[in-house]
Symmetry: C2
Subunit: 208 residues, 2 copies
């Protein structure tokens, strides 16, 4: 995996590959030991760099964790951009776009590390929630029906994430035996309903 996540063009083997080596090592340590158990020293050791370089690039463990959750910008932007497509295709496009992140090893690695380190660790979970709210919901919320955009988005995304966890982590046989097209056909219409159709009558009003 020799991907330049720094957004630069061309090859700059030195700093880019050290940065990438640190990120790869961080994901492995966070996956194995969780956010609390992983140390900057162990990550530096695994990456074969001096711990000072981690502080230089990422400020410390917090910044490194945030960076290790970032999936390469273009792939993520593609998913955020599903709402730029036709409104009646949002559901299918969101399901296909999110599952495609898990299908590609380059984008699956940070997703896997995030899940493994965040679940079961309250501190990491807080960070992950902030990240989700500030990056994803802030982008998508304004495009959704304004009756309760947060609930719409939450129902849609937890459904898709549930399918992804079942397929790529739990490897539940029915979700592995059926291909992505089947899952898009099955789940896409539901996600579409959550995003755009009227909500059930009688829900509590959202606060604020």
């Amino acid at each position: 995996m020799d991907v330049d996540t720094g957004g630069r063009t061309g090859r700059r083997p030195g700093p880019v590959s050290s940065r990438q080596a640190i990120l790869d090592a961080a994901r492995e340590e966070f996956t194995l030991r969780g956010f609390k158990g992983a140390t900057v020293r162990a990550i530096a050791g695994r990456a074969g760099v001096d711990p000072a370089l981690i502080r230089h690039f990422f400020g410390g463990k917090d910044g490194l964790f945030r960076a290790s959750m970032e999936i390469p910008g273009e792939a993520f932007d593609a998913v955020l951009a599903v709402l730029d497509g036709p409104r009646d295709e949002w559901g299918e496009r969101l399901v296909r776009g999110y599952l495609s992140l898990w299908e590609d090893p380059v984008t699956a690695a940070p997703l896997r590390a995030t899940v493994a380190s965040a679940l079961g660790n309250e501190e990491a979970m807080d960070r992950f929630r902030d990240h989700l709210v500030s990056r994803v919901l802030a982008h998508m919320g304004p495009r959704l029906p304004q009756d309760d955009p947060g609930l719409r988005f939450a129902a849609a995304i937890t459904h898709v994430v549930g399918i992804a966890l079942g397929r790529y982590l739990l490897k539940a046989p029915p979700l592995v035996e059926h291909g992505v097209d089947d899952l898009v056909a099955l789940v896409g219409p539901t996600v579409q309903r959550y995003l755009t159709d009227p909500l059930p009558a009688g829900l509590t009003s959202p606060p604020r």
Copy 2:
């Protein structure tokens, strides 16, 4: 938490409370350190018992992990029994039944430990999948439409689990601010469709 999970009647403070103390300690260790990181010795230390007692009750770490995933039988049976109710209420009853397990601290503890220790650890995940297939799908599959009961069940349960992870672990604001009744109203009809309505045309046939 002084629950007799052994299915005995009456109080038997000695063995029952040791067994329970071991289970509580195991869940804490599995949650903190994952399946691989947790040791029988550390669990025994936390529970204040001799490691030999763990081997006596559970055979070893594998058996202890299986037992720590078991939620008290009656509560779990109540969820499995949703299919005993009227067919057109299966969706709502499954959502309410599953969320109620997370609402109750006694049943939430093992769920939380299972999620934390299984995600990110392949070995524990294998055990969890076997448990799900052998205990849950084996019970529910025969009652579902036989075109593809595994896919129906998988779509339904991952949806409900996604909502539960979003509400109880991630604490996503929209899923916390809305009560269980709202979530049942929102998600119940979807789960019902997955369980009983015709599947989309053109899905790949399930193997076997």
